[in-house]
Structure formats: C-alpha cells, structure tokens
C-alpha cells in the first residue's frame, strides 16, 4: 500500500520552490494554453513552458511517459473519428472509400493540444510538488479546512480501494470464485466484490474522520507546521507577475479572437 502521490524528490530548483509559486506557474501554463487562440497555442505552451519546466525539475522521463500514455491513445482516436466522420468537411487524404476531412483534423489537433496542456500542467505539479506542502501553504494563506479535507480524503481513496479490492478478491478466490478468464467471467466476479467494498469504505470514511478529529483537525486557532516552507521576496513578486501574466493571456485571447 502506498500513498497516492506522483511526487519524486529530485532536490531540483522546482522542488525547492514554494508550493504557491509552483501553483502560480502551473496556473499560468493552464490559462495561457487555454485562453490564447489558435490550434497551436496549447502546443506552444507545452513545448516552450511545460516541457522545459519538466526538464528543469529533472522529471522529464516520468513526465513524458505518463503524458504519452494518456494523450497518445486520445490523439489517435480523436483524429480517426473526427477526421473520418466530420460531416461536410473538405477531404484532403483519401483512404479507399473513406477520407480524412480537413476540419475534422484541425478539431482533433485542437482538442489534443488542449488535453496536452491541461494534463501536462497537472502532471508537472504532481511530479514536482508535495501535496502536503501545497496544503500547508494554502492553509497558511487562509484556505478553508474543508478543502484540505476533501483533497486528503480523495488522495486516500485510491490506494485504500485497491488494497481492499485485492483482499476481497483473494478471499473470494479462496472460496472458489473464478476471477480470471473471459470478460463475462470477470464482470461476474466484480459483483460480489463491490458490496463489501462499498460498505467497507463507508466504515473507513467514518473511522478516518474520527481519527482526524482525535488529532484536533478541526481545532480553530493558529496552527504550526513541522515542515518549513521556503519563500522569498522574489517568489512573492514572481507569483504576482504570473497572476498578471494570466490576466494578460486572457485579455490577449479575447482581443485576438475578435
């Protein structure tokens, strides 16, 4: 069982940034990738900002492998489907009785670019920033406790679910249930799995809430933190510059689209 976290400690410059600065950087990439017009804007943001940042954070390899695993299948299917079945478009490539339409391909390129920019941004954040540090930083700046709790609970669900599912599967298998084999058989094996899984998870959520409460999670008043977050005057200025950049990108996007 492990915590659901992609973070890799590379002792890089990005690792040492205040999580809020990282958040501002990612926010800028996201906004610029989505707000600027044209099919190529998200690609430009990806190539000129996100990729160099991943390289600078020394996470290029896990970054690319995760990004490709998700984006590639999406790109292929959206290109084929939109390219082949775009109604009333201009055919540019003929494949026997079928043809790829220009408008469909542009649409596919556009949506792939957006996915790339959005996914790349979040992936970069996850790979370079500790969730706990981010939560502490947000809490120090007055983010509500419920936000922390929701993030926490969400991060906990995946590993817990998986561990539980394995336990239950093992137990069912020990009682002679077939869990390997064809699709039909596997789906049938899932049914006795889900009920204990869901019921057990409700009990878990209750217990976790009690455990958090027993450690004064909802206590009001000033909190302290064992983890020391670095911050600097430069970073604070940098964050405001990035926020300014986001606003500029949005305005530029509106102006250029006219």
């Amino acid at each position: 069982m492990s915590a659901f976290s992609l973070y890799v400690d590379r002792n890089s410059g990005l690792n040492r940034l205040n999580p809020l600065t990282m958040l501002a950087l990612i926010g800028f990439c996201l906004v610029a990738g989505l707000a600027l017009p044209g099919a190529w804007a998200p690609y430009a943001v990806f190539l000129l900002a996100i990729l160099p940042l991943a390289a600078g954070g020394r996470v290029l390899r896990p970054f690319l492998s995760a990004a490709l695993k998700i984006v590639l299948p999406f790109a292929v299917s959206v290109t084929l489907i939109q390219g082949l079945f775009w109604t009333g478009g201009t055919p540019i490539v003929h494949l026997g009785p079928l043809s790829l339409k220009r408008e469909g391909l542009i649409f596919a390129a556009q949506s792939t670019g957006r996915i790339l920019a959005v996914l790349g941004s979040f992936l970069l954040l996850a790979l370079t920033t500790r969730t706990d540090a981010l939560m502490i930083a947000l809490a120090q700046h007055g983010a509500p406790k419920s936000l922390t709790y929701i993030v926490l609970a969400t991060l906990q669900i995946a590993p817990r679910f998986q561990a539980k599912a394995n336990t239950i599967l093992d137990a069912q298998r020990a009682r002679g249930l077939e869990v390997e084999g064809g699709i039909g058989r596997r789906v049938r094996a899932l049914i006795p799995l889900t009920i204990p899984l869901v019921l057990g998870s409700i009990v878990d959520i209750e217990e976790r809430a009690i455990a958090l409460e027993a450690r004064a999670f909802s206590r009001s008043g000033p909190k302290t933190s064992l983890l020391v977050l670095r911050d600097s005057h430069m970073q604070r200025i940098g964050r405001w510059v990035l926020v300014g950049g986001m606003i500029a990108a949005v305005i530029l996007g509106i102006v250029l689209r006219r």
Binding site: M1, S2, A3, S5, R130, D132, M135, T148, L152, L155, Q156, P159, R160, A163, D204, E207, R208, A209, I210, A211, L212, E213, A214, R215, A216, F217, S218, R219, S220, G221, P222, K223, T224, S225, L226, L227, V228
Partner: protein, 283 residues
C-alpha cells in the same frame, strides 16, 4: 480521572441502547481493561469517553461522563482532542495521509494544537522513541508494517500528551509480531506512569499480566468489575461469551479431574500457574 454515572446511550435509528446504565470510575494512572462479546458496547464506551458519542454519532444520551475534570457531553470535540487520546484497530485508517514522513505524521496533532516547532520536534522524537520507532522518522508511514503503523498511530496520540488514553482493540488486525510490539509499547507506557488507560482487548493472557483492573461488558451493561485474577477466573465469564486464560482453563480441567485441589484461586498468569500445578497439597 474518568467518572461515568448512569450512562445510557442509544444510536440514532436504533431501538435498543448500546450502553445501558453504565457506572464506571477509573482513577488516574490505572490501566483498565474492558472485555466483552461482539456487540457488547465496548467500542461505544470508548467513543463515549472520547466524546464521539454523542458529538459525532448524535443519538440520545442520558447520564454523565466526566473525563479529566471536563463534562464530555458539554465540551466540543475539538477541545477534547489532545486531552483524550483514541487509538483503534485499523492502523491504515489512522494515518492521515496528509503528511509524507512518519515524523510529520506524528506531528500532525501538535500542528493542529499550534505547538511551536522546536517543542514539536522534541516531543515527536520522544514519542517515536517511546514506541520504538526512533530510527524510522524519515520513512513514509505507508512503507511500514502493520505493527509499526499501529505504533505510529500510538505515537501520534501519545505525543499530544493526553491525560486519558483509550484503545479499542489496538492489536486485532495485527499479526503476532505486531501484537507483541504494540503490547510491549503499552507496558512501557504504563510503567512510565501517569496516563490513565482504557484498553479494549481480547487477549486474556496479556490482560492478566498488565491490567490493573478488568471490566466485563455484556449487552451494554457492566456485569463484572475487579482485579484481573478475580474477573478472569470467574466461572460466569463463559456465560458472557468470553474465554478464560489458557492457565485458568488448564487449572479448571485439572481440578475437575481431581488432579489439583479445588480450594485455591485459579491462576490467570504463567507466574501463578507454575505454583498451582507444582505445589501439591499432601492429603
């Protein structure tokens, strides 16, 4: 330290009370073991001492629960946290997941209490040493065995210096090695003194050696209450769905077969069993 008077509690949407007229006083520094069959109300009693009954579960409560001088029913949970520590069976559910390392995990409660960082570091390291995890502070809590995780949970609570520690079957999901680790930690804690401990536990051999007192619950009532040697050897124990220690069982068998005289108290620990079986009373 704990003073419970006429406590009756019914869960919402439930007909019968889970606790029914409980009177229980636990003095400071006592290690009080609570045993009872499934559904007897042991967990509910733990929750009532820690305030989760009624604050978290709602339901109807009558009677009075006073812990460390505070009226539990009238005090909000956030204020009870830290004064009353609670550890339960599943180690995984007690790890917040909010922190990366064991040291930070243990510090979580102190952060919420606003303890200054320097104090925090010293207290966390002391708590880790107490539970025998001194070398593992920089590990991820998820990279530990069940027994180690449960000791992290224990350290996370101890570090807040609660006046009362409530443990609900803390070893029931651990293997024998993990169980021994947790028990040894508890024994060390009891020896260090001061903390009042309420421990729900099923292993009578362990209770017999370490508990100052044993309370038996059945259907939400206290049915037996006394020193371990008395309660654990009581003939009515099996009527409440509980097994006596191996030593008591063997002694009872020996008496039944005329191999040992029946006029002596039955042993509940190995220490008591040895003379019981070897000191033959000459006829």
């Amino acid at each position: 330290m704990i003073d419970i008077q006429g406590l009756t509690y019914t869960y919402p949407a439930s007909e019968t009370p889970a606790l029914n007229g409980i009177d229980l006083t636990v003095p400071e520094g006592q290690l009080c073991a609570v045993i009872g069959a499934n559904g007897a109300g042991k967990s509910t009693l733990c929750y009532a001492i820690a305030g989760f009954v009624p604050h978290f579960y709602n339901g109807t409560l009558t009677g009075r629960v006073t812990v460390a001088g505070r009226d539990v029913v009238a005090t909000p949970l956030a204020e009870l946290a830290g004064e009353i520590g609670l550890v339960f069976a599943n180690p995984f559910n007690q790890i917040t997941g909010a922190r990366f390392t064991v040291r930070e995990e243990v510090a979580f409660g102190l952060e919420n209490l606003g303890v200054p960082r320097d104090d925090m570091l010293a207290r966390v390291d002391a708590a880790l040493a107490l539970v025998g995890l001194a070398g593992l502070g920089d590990r991820s809590p998820y990279a530990l065995s069940g027994g180690q995780q449960q000791r992290v949970a224990l350290a996370s609570v101890i570090v807040m210096r609660p006046r009362v520690l409530v443990l609900d079957e803390p070893t029931s999901q651990l293997d024998p090695v993990g169980t021994r680790e947790v028990f040894e930690t508890l024994a060390g804690l009891a020896q260090a003194g001061g903390t009042t401990v309420v421990l729900v536990e099923h292993k009578p051999e362990w209770i017999a050696v370490h508990a100052d007192r044993v309370v038996v619950l059945s259907a939400g009532r206290v049915v037996l209450d006394g020193p371990p040697a008395e309660v654990l050897a009581a003939p009515e124990l099996s009527g409440y769905g509980l097994a006596p220690t191996r030593y008591t069982q063997a002694a009872r068998l020996a008496v039944g077969r005329g191999l040992a005289p029946g006029d002596r108290p039955l042993p509940v620990t190995l220490e008591q069993a040895a003379p019981f079986f070897t000191d033959r009373v000459s006829p």
